[in-house]
């Protein structure tokens, strides 16, 4: 009895729901917090929960990357920003309620627009239509939980070969060119951040 209840309670769907709720709550927390540090905290909660969502969707690599890069990298970057600008004479920079109301209204409008249309879609039918098979036999997306099952095809895809899917696009170019992008971005950020060098008088 208890075991079955535990099974129900600890089912994947429960975790899914949990992560979904906490990510949404985190996002709301970011909005309503007025202090930067609290916002950063709520953001960590939200992004971490999103990583959890990724794990639940069998996207372990993306989930890990989310944790490492977002939570570990980007947020630290943001916190640096918080600390560097903390000595501001205007300690409290608050949003005005009026604007929040407007923004929320527009946001809700948008949310209903998306959610309203999305919820009406018959996904198995759509997938089947694309794959040209009957709805009953749709594979229903990528889900392979065997060892390295996500990582290996992902790695190959980034090298431009698709053993998992015949004829699917290869992503070598974006993978490589992103490095150029990162280099340029780094140069740009460094330029803005550094002080102007003194010219040699000689």
């Amino acid at each position: 009895m208890i075991a079955s209840i535990m099974e129900t309670v600890l089912s994947p769907f429960t975790f899914l729901l949990l992560f979904a709720l906490s990510s949404c709550l985190g996002a709301v927390g970011v909005i309503i917090s007025q202090s930067l540090v609290r916002m950063a905290f709520w953001l960590i909660v939200s992004l971490g929960s999103v990583a959890g969502l990724f794990f639940m969707a069998d996207a372990d690599f993306v989930g890990a990357a989310q944790l490492l890069i977002y939570v570990g990298g980007t947020l630290v970057l943001l916190v640096f920003g918080v600390m560097l600008t903390a000595s501001s004479p205007y300690t409290k920079i608050e949003a005005s309620p009026g604007e929040t109301v407007i923004a929320s209204l527009v946001g809700l409008l948008f949310l209903f627009m998306v959610a309203g249309t999305v919820s009406r879609i018959d996904w198995p039918g759509t997938n089947a239509a694309i794959a040209n098979v009957t709805p009953a036999s749709t594979s229903g997306g990528f889900s392979d939980t065997s060892e390295g099952a996500t990582l290996r095809p992902l790695g190959f895809a980034l090298l431009g070969v698709r053993p998992d899917q015949e004829g699917a696009p290869g992503y070598l170019l974006p993978f490589e060119i992103a490095s150029v992008h990162l280099l340029v971005v780094l140069v740009g950020a460094a330029y803005l951040a550094r002080a102007k060098r003194r010219r040699d008088v000689a």
């Binding site: 309503i32 007025q34 005005s96 309620p97 009026g98 407007i102 209204l105 527009v106 946001g107 948008f110």
Partner: protein, 857 residues
């Protein structure tokens, strides 16, 4: 028959002013002392003068190539000698022009009964081209003189003929005898569109060339005297003030003035030479720009720069219509060319004119079923595309015609775009004479005439009414205006209205005839007014003048010639003033038109009435200025006749203004202008539907010619008489009359309130819209947010509750929220980044809604 050498001479005449422009501008920038040198002016005169000579040479070539004046039987000479001997086949030595021969035969057959045995003029005709070619110094005078001499001997006789109602010499030639068209330079081909510089030369082109270059030469000379104040490093502009109320000092801009004039001449000649309507548009814009530069020449004067802007912008309004017309033409005809492009006599590419054909009734040939106008090849056979006949909907032909005409309305200052022209008088007087009376504004009339074969009845009626309204309205305003140049400006508008009316009532020749005669006498009068202004030290108000006849006799007499010419006075021995002939022709056309379409009776009566008004206000001007006692003694004492360089052009132009139309519709000028007139003019156009327009042919016009002539003459004389009584003798107190008629006077003085009308109709809304847009970007969110902020106070409280976890009580919250409203207002007014972001999402939502609503699901 090749137009090569012909077009080359005209191209030289056309391009020389461009060379002049370039040289003068560079001279201005780089010479050591451009401010005090007249070199630029002499160069400009040289260029345009040579241009005139080239035009005359081209003309003589044209004559010899087409055999137009080859003896009495030349196909044009025959019209001049319509009542001459019937020795038609005696001296026809132009063997390569068979069309002409045929035509001559037909022509003479038609008139064999009228043998008046006048052969003397013939010899001097033949001598005129050779005179012109040989005597390069002043060919115009020579030619004109010989023409005059020729006609003098038969003058009285021709007048008699002109009034002969039973006379019929309207059987025209058909087929292009004197038309040459070809490509100068291909600009580019874009898919189906070919844009090229073409030429289209016919007798009208040549007349325009000679007229423009001659007048321009005179005006250049005049300007050399008139603008000589600018020959200084420190020009004091008495009409412009700096912020502290002093006069503006600036370097003189003598060379620049002449550079602009040269550029204008180039543009104007290019417009006349243009062989396709797109090219016309290009030069149309270029003359517009020149006009802009010249009106705004005294740029320091606020009024001048405003006037320049106004002129340019109002013209653009018309050009918008022009562009629409061009689009329609391009879409349906696929070409902009007027005439056919021929190689060795074979048509290789059709022009616009030959793509529509008129049937026996003079109407366009239409598709039997759809009623759309058929496009045809040069032989009148329908063109096909993909097995189907190419057609253009009749309505679109109307749209194209109206579109092109809209451009003409802007350029020729017709109702409702007429208000820029009086303001354009802010430019120096020579500019007014050249650009804003004789040539550029006439370009609209010229284009209407040039494009005439494509106009359908509805368009012609519109043209007629627009012209009619314009001529009446402008004339009434001219009656009360006291600025000497403004009077002339309004009279110009009015006369342009006459021309448009003439074209609109199917008096093609009449309208263009008036265009040429008007160019001569109006440029003469403007130069005279310039001379007066110069002599009176830049006083332009007529009420301060008076009695100047003795002080400046040459100016006064030449002005009187111009006044008589515009009033349309006849004179003994056939020495009628040019305006008499041309205005008669228009009035006669109008009368014939009204006879055929009685509902449009206004088209005759208003012009007739206006003929009287014209005489009245022109004589009013003359009496005001030159007659009576001086009203301002100081001004009078200092007035002086202008130097020779200004009076000589007057003396050159005066004979032309008087006698250029000698012989009326049997005179050389008229015959030459109508040498290549559209063929459907001769027999008129019959109405095919009930309520349609019937357009009178030549016969119908001739039937009423003398009747109309008498009426116009009576009107003119009575107008002049009234002016003499009021302003010459002074039988009534003018000021009292003014006071009694103050309402009317005020209405006219305010130009029928058109400026105010436009101001409130267009300018204010335009400013409003522009201001609105600026405001929109800045502050619209302001109001939205403000409104929402009030609504959202309660919700805002929740925000506080969550964030600060403190609930201090209602009053405290209310205070906070009030403060937050203030903050939000302050915030919204100053920073907008976040609203920008908001608008990304809002934009998506809006667009989605747009597609949702437009898409039928």
């Amino acid at each position: 028959m090749s137009g090569d050498s012909l077009s080359k001479w005209l191209m030289i005449a056309w391009l020389l002013p461009l060379l002049g422009f370039v040289v003068e501008i560079f001279f201005g920038y780089y010479s050591r002392n451009p401010r005090r040198s007249k070199a630029a002016a002499w160069f400009a005169v040289g260029c345009i003068g040579t241009g005139f000579i080239c035009s005359v040479i081209a003309f003589t070539q044209w004559c010899s190539m087409t055999g137009a004046f080859d003896g009495e039987s030349g196909w044009l000479a025959a019209r001049v000698h319509a009542h001459d001997a019937d020795d038609n086949d005696a001296d026809d030595n132009d063997a390569d022009d068979n069309d002409a021969d045929d035509n001559d035969a037909e022509h003479h057959d038609g008139h064999s009964g009228h043998d008046d045995g006048e052969a003397k003029g013939h010899d001097s005709d033949d001598s005129s081209p050779s005179d012109a070619a040989g005597a390069a110094e002043a060919p115009a005078e020579e030619e004109a003189a010989s023409d005059e001499a020729a006609v003098l001997r038969e003058g009285g006789h021709l007048l008699a003929v002109a009034e002969d109602e039973g006379d019929d010499h309207s059987h025209g030639h058909d087929g292009p005898k004197g038309e040459f068209s070809g490509v100068i330079y291909t600009l580019g081909t874009f898919g189906g569109i070919t844009l090229s510089m073409d030429y289209y030369i016919d007798s009208l082109t040549l007349v325009m060339f000679m007229m423009v270059t001659l007048i321009a030469t005179c005006i250049h000379l005049f300007a050399m005297g008139y603008m000589s104040d600018e020959l200084t490093d420190d020009y004091v502009d008495h009409f412009a003030h700096t912020a502290d109320g002093k006069h503006v000092h600036r370097p003189g801009r003598f060379y620049r003035f002449f550079a602009f004039l040269s550029l204008f001449c180039f543009a104007m000649l290019g417009l006349v030479l243009a062989g396709n309507i797109f090219q016309v548009f290009v030069f149309w814009e270029l003359v517009g720009i020149c006009s802009f530069l010249l009106i705004g020449f005294y740029t320091e004067r606020k009024t001048a720069s405003n006037a320049a802007n106004k002129a340019f912008i109002m013209n653009r309004v018309g050009d918008f219509g022009f562009l629409i017309g061009l689009m329609v033409l391009l879409t349906y005809f696929g070409t902009f060319r007027f005439g056919d492009t021929k190689v060795d006599g074979e048509v290789v590419e059709q022009g616009l004119f030959s793509m529509v054909t008129r049937d026996a009734t003079g109407n366009f040939v239409r598709d039997d079923i759809t009623g759309e106008v058929l496009l045809t090849d040069t032989h009148g056979h329908a063109l096909t595309e993909g097995g189907e006949n190419r057609t253009i909907p009749y309505m679109l032909l109307v749209v194209a015609g109206l579109g092109v005409f809209a451009g003409c309305v802007g350029k020729s200052a017709q109702f409702p775009l007429q208000t820029w022209l009086p303001d354009a008088m802010e430019g120096p007087t020579p500019v007014s004479a050249l650009v804003h009376s004789a040539t550029m504004v006439a370009a609209g009339v010229y284009l209407t005439g040039r494009f005439f074969p494509m106009f359908v009845q509805e368009v012609l009626l519109t043209i007629a009414y627009i012209g009619c309204i314009t001529l009446f309205m402008a004339a009434t305003i001219a009656v009360v205006v006291t600025d000497i140049k403004k009077v002339l400006a309004y009279s110009t508008i009015s006369q342009l209205g006459y021309m448009m009316l003439g074209l609109g009532v199917f008096g093609w020749g009449a309208g263009l005839f008036h265009l040429v005669t008007h160019a001569f006498f109006k440029s003469l009068m403007f130069l005279c007014s310039g001379s007066v202004i110069h002599g009176c030290h830049h006083e332009q108000e007529m009420p301060k003048m008076g009695g100047l006849l003795k002080k400046m006799p040459i100016t006064a007499i030449t002005m009187l010639v111009g006044v008589c010419a515009i009033a349309g006075f006849p004179l003994f021995l056939g020495l009628h003033f040019s305006g008499f002939h041309s205005k008669d022709a228009i009035v006669a056309s109008a009368l014939a038109f009204v006879n055929a379409n009685p509902t449009h009776f206004l088209l005759f009566f208003l012009p007739l009435l206006t003929a009287g008004i014209t005489a009245f206000y022109m004589f009013r001007l003359w009496f005001y200025t030159f007659w009576g006692k001086p009203r301002d003694q100081h001004l009078h004492d200092h007035a002086h006749e202008s130097p020779w360089i200004m009076t000589v052009p007057l003396l050159i132009l005066a004979p032309f203004a008087w006698l250029c139309a000698f012989g009326g519709e049997q005179g050389y000028l008229y015959v030459l202008i109508t040498g290549n007139d559209p063929s459907h003019l001769h027999d008129g156009v019959q109405a095919v539907t009930t309520g349609g327009l019937t357009l009178p042919g030549h016969e119908a016009v001739h039937a009423v010619h003398s009747q109309a002539g008498w009426l116009a003459m009576i009107a003119a004389f009575s107008g002049a008489l009234l002016a003499y009584l009021l302003y010459g003798v002074g039988i009534v107190d003018l000021d009292r009359m003014k006071a009694q008629l103050s309402k009317v006077h005020g209405f006219l003085l305010n130009k029928w309130h058109f400026d105010e009308l436009y101001d409130s109709l267009f300018m204010k809304p335009a400013h409003k819209v522009a201001a609105f847009c600026a405001w929109f970007d800045k502050a619209v969110f302001d109001n939205i947010v403000h409104g929402f902020a009030k609504v959202g106070i309660v919700i805002a409280q929740w925000d506080r509750v969550f964030d600060e976890k403190v609930v201090d009580g209602f009053v405290n919250l209310l205070g906070d929220s009030t403060k937050s409203i203030g903050n939000s207002l302050k915030v919204v007014q100053t920073g907008r980044l976040r609203q920008y972001v908001m608008f990304i999402v809002l934009g998506v939502v809006t667009l989605f809604a747009f597609v949702f609503t437009t898409f039928p699901s």
